[in-house]
Amino acid sequence: MNPPLVLPPVDLRPILPMLVLAVTAGLVLVLDLVPPRDRKDHLGFISALGVVATLVVTYWMTFATGGAELRAFRGMVVLDGYALFFNIVIGYATGLVLLLSMDYMRREGVESGEFYILVLLSALGMMLMASAGDLIIVFLGLETMSISLYVLAGFFRTRLEAGEASMKYFLIGAFASGFFLYGIALVFGATGSTNLDRIANAVTAGAGKDPMLAIGLGLLLVGFGFKISSVPFHMWAPDVYEGAPTSVAAFIATGSKAAAFAALLRVLLTAVRGAPVDWPMLLWVVAALTMTVGNVVALAQLNLKRMLAYSSIAHVGYMLVGVVAGGPLGNGSVLFYLLVYTFTTAGAFGAILVLERAGQEAVRLEDFGGLATRHPLVAVALSIFLLSLIGIPPTAGFVGKFYLFGAAVKTGYVWLAVIGVLNSAAAAYYYLRLIVYMYMREPEGAPTLMPPSLSGALALVVALWGVVQLGVAPGPLFDLAQAAVLPLLR
């Protein structure tokens, strides 16, 4: 007689936030098929509620577990304070994007249930990347996220740029995945495992000297480089942002970057910490190049979506400064900055997408001429987001940069901090140019309109709240971010 099949007890708590998202996605998928078929508003709201529930679960688990580590599936999924912090970032990004999309997608005539499902599934992939305890799970999350985003980027099916965006994003993403997978293979070859902890043990035991590990790590960094769009792997970003729906561009800029940073930091901090590869030096150069190239090219952009694309590249450079600096302060400031950046960038994209001019999206600089007289509230909101992107106090962007550059100074990378602040000064020019258009020029030609959008307004209010609150009282969330990285550094 065969022994009874004993299933190991599966602890579902480590994937609870993701489960909530998955259930919501399933629910929306079903509801999409039942009446009312002609309106999709309710699907958007249900999706947004699902995200709120995910955030609530995440906050609850943060306080209930105190950031203690939960593992499932033989250590493949880890839910610790670090993953929970990223769940918060990704949750806010997803929620803001959903709110911004509802009226926007209907206005553009492409409203559909799939959109919300894809956003939710993409967020699921992002959270999986943040919780990955194994390179295979990192890859799984990466693909779940990316494939949804490829479709989302091309959602304006009838437009030429959308096709270009989707195709370019897909091809380059596929390249990146290839590099990434090859990297995993080489790391596995050198250490005999794909589990991050076991890789770490093997590395300290001597596998670190294996050149195969260095090559594998290099390939992994290339894959991550594509996803966070650091120089020299940034070329896709402007075209994709320009062609993708604006809310999706915001999602790519915030959520997908946060997820890629989450996996990148976890791999660097846990798996290959003991490797004798001087990756801070390498990232030093990448950080300096990324912020400089991003800012310099952004200076020449007249299309706001392209400008924000280059600006997002520059901000990746700033965040890499924190990675280079390392330690609780450096890594904590990267986490904190990702949260700040999510509110700021989602807000900036949001303030752009609530406007339209002559039936088109208002994405050119001249569409914003004299906006302050026509729509003073949107102008004020967008100005605050731009000031946060520059890093002017008392906005969150200032505090975020303060922590990043502070970490760099602390660990002796003073010159990198100097490059960073000089970049910030140069970047001020192109952000301020938009403020110049809004406040110091008169409106010309067809008026820029703001179609009423309750959800869009709500998203802007939430983003503003984030930018102001993190700017005036950054203490609690920064402490949370720092506490989240501490266990990884042990």
């Binding site: 007289t373 106090p393 001020a428 140019r433 110049v436």
Partner: protein, 505 residues
């Protein structure tokens, strides 16, 4: 009294919120609410003067609360003899500026009022903050309202001027941010207390040598841009000329003082040895600024530009006094900051008044104004004389003390700087002569109207203090002396302590 400084600093913000809630159509009410807010702020700030203990060198009205505990950032406010007059100068000028803008600002009064009120909070915050982080927050946050004032309500070339202003100042202050961080971590590593608290950091003896020199330079460049010292002055003429009258006055009277105040409050006590090391260079740049500013002023065809360049010259005197590190020089420098705020502020106000009537600022367009508008011309003469340092008016007191201080340290610099006073007489009186004396050259000038009651109300308070400081400066200098003495003692003892650490330069 415990919350006095918080109240003074944030009353304008409360007023700005109130204005924000007012309907746009009610322009008259908007103006009055803004004006009343600034007047109330001034009245509330008076106890800062009257309850100030002039015999103490300590910070007074101190408030300190934790803000970001994990970084050691505190909400720390306080004033001493160095900052008290600047706080009062700011609150004193703001109502006058709103009054002067009553008709000259023609569009978007609501936004104008909000911006001015937020700017006031920023400026006051800079002068009362005793925590480097808090100071930096106010220092940067204040740039945006000023940028908007130049860019939205300015002259034809306003956008260029506004961008130039903000990029210049931003570049300088961001380098200062890095220096603040370096100082923070150096202090933290040495003492194991991580804090941005200025009084604590000022007691810390930083090792001499390259680090201190670089830190000093990072701070000094930020402040030198703001002052502005030669050769960092090129943003100033553009910003001054394009800004509306109220903006020009704020720039001259308060914003430029932030640079000199920064030298005094941060550079000298934090980096004493580097300050002494670089003092000769700063002396040289100041003297160049004094003479160059005066020469360039002389040839300006535009009155406003002339006054703008004269600021470069006058602020050169202030920096000269500060870096003489003598009691006379420092007291003179501080009082001259106030004097320049009053005199140059009044000059800009009067240029604005004449521009509002005639829509021209070119000297060549005027002539014989005394015959048409005698009251204006008479007050203009007093203000010009105060600016060029006539004894009996305020400018003389400050410049005399500064030269007294500088002479003890560097005779050549003092002698060269004295020529700046002579050139000031040249450019101001020559300008005055062409504008007010002689025959009425242009028909358009015959119909000019003399000062209105509102304009009298703007100018008379300023004139009162111009004469008061000129006749009896002790009312104001007495408050600054203990703090100045303490500062000099601190700089010298710290510089000695640094030298005693025997670190080769």
């Amino acid at each position: 009294m415990a919350y006095l400084l918080t109240l003074v600093t944030f009353l304008p913000t409360a007023g700005a919120v109130l204005v924000l809630l007012l309907p746009r159509r009610q322009e008259g009410i908007t103006k009055r609410v803004a004006l009343v807010t600034t007047i109330v702020t001034f009245v509330v700030s008076l106890p800062v003067y009257f309850a100030f203990n002039p015999t103490s060198a300590d910070y007074q009205f101190v408030e300190q609360r934790a803000w970001i505990p994990s970084l050691g950032v505190t909400y720390h406010l306080g004033v001493d003899g160095i900052s008290v007059l600047l706080v009062l100068l700011t609150t004193f000028l703001m109502p006058l500026l709103l009054l002067s803008s009553w008709t000259s600002v023609e569009s978007r009064w609501k936004e104008f009022a909000i911006t001015m009120l937020l700017l006031e909070t920023g400026m006051l915050g800079v002068f009362v903050a005793l925590d480097l982080f808090l100071f930096y927050v106010f220092w940067e946050a204040m740039l945006i309202p000023m940028y908007l004032i130049i860019g939205v309500w300015g002259g034809p070339n306003r956008i260029y001027a506004a961008i130039k202003f903000i990029l210049y100042t931003l570049a300088g202050s961001l380098l200062m941010l890095v220096a603040i961080l370096v100082l923070y971590f150096q202090h933290g590593a040495a003492t194991n207390t991580y804090t941005f608290d200025l009084p604590v950091l000022a007691r810390f003896v930083l090792p001499g040598g390259l680090t201190q020199d670089l830190l000093f330079l990072a701070f000094a460049v930020a402040f030198a841009i703001k002052v502005p010292m030669f050769p960092f002055h090129t943003w100033l003429p553009d910003a001054h000329v394009e800004a509306p009258t109220a903006g020009s006055v704020i720039l001259a009277a308060v914003l430029l003082k932030m640079g000199t105040y920064g030298f005094l409050r941060f550079c000298l006590p934090l980096f004493p040895q580097a300050s002494l090391h670089f003092a000769p260079w700063i002396f040289a740049l100041s003297v160049i600024g004094i003479i160059y500013g005066a020469w360039v002023s002389t040839v300006q065809p535009d009155i406003k530009k002339l006054v703008a360049y004269s600021s470069v010259s006058h602020l050169g005197f202030v920096v000269l006094g500060l870096f003489s590190l003598t009691p006379q020089g420092l007291v003179g420098g501080i009082i001259q900051m106030v004097n320049h705020g009053l005199s140059t502020g009044a000059l800009f106000l009067m240029v604005g008044m004449i521009y509002e009537r005639r829509h021209s600022r070119l000297i060549a367009d005027f002539g014989g104004l005394w015959k048409v508008i005698p009251a204006f011309s008479a007050l203009f003469l007093i203000v010009c004389l105060s600016s060029l340092g006539l004894p009996g008016l305020n400018g003389f007191v400050g410049e005399f003390l500064i030269l007294l201080g500088a002479f003890q340290v560097d005779r050549l610099a003092a002698v060269l700087a004295t020529t700046g006073i002579i050139f000031a007489a040249v450019y101001l009186l020559w300008m005055y002569q062409r504008v007010c004396f002689g025959e009425v050259t242009s028909e358009a000038n015959r119909r000019l109207t003399d000062l209105t009651p509102r304009e009298w109300a703007v100018l008379l308070p300023v004139l009162l203090f111009i004469v008061w400081i000129g006749v009896y400066p002790t009312t104001f200098t007495a408050m600054t002396e203990p703090s100045v003495q303490a500062l000099i003692a601190q700089v010298q003892s710290k510089a000695q302590a640094t030298s005693a650490m025997l670190i080769p330069r």
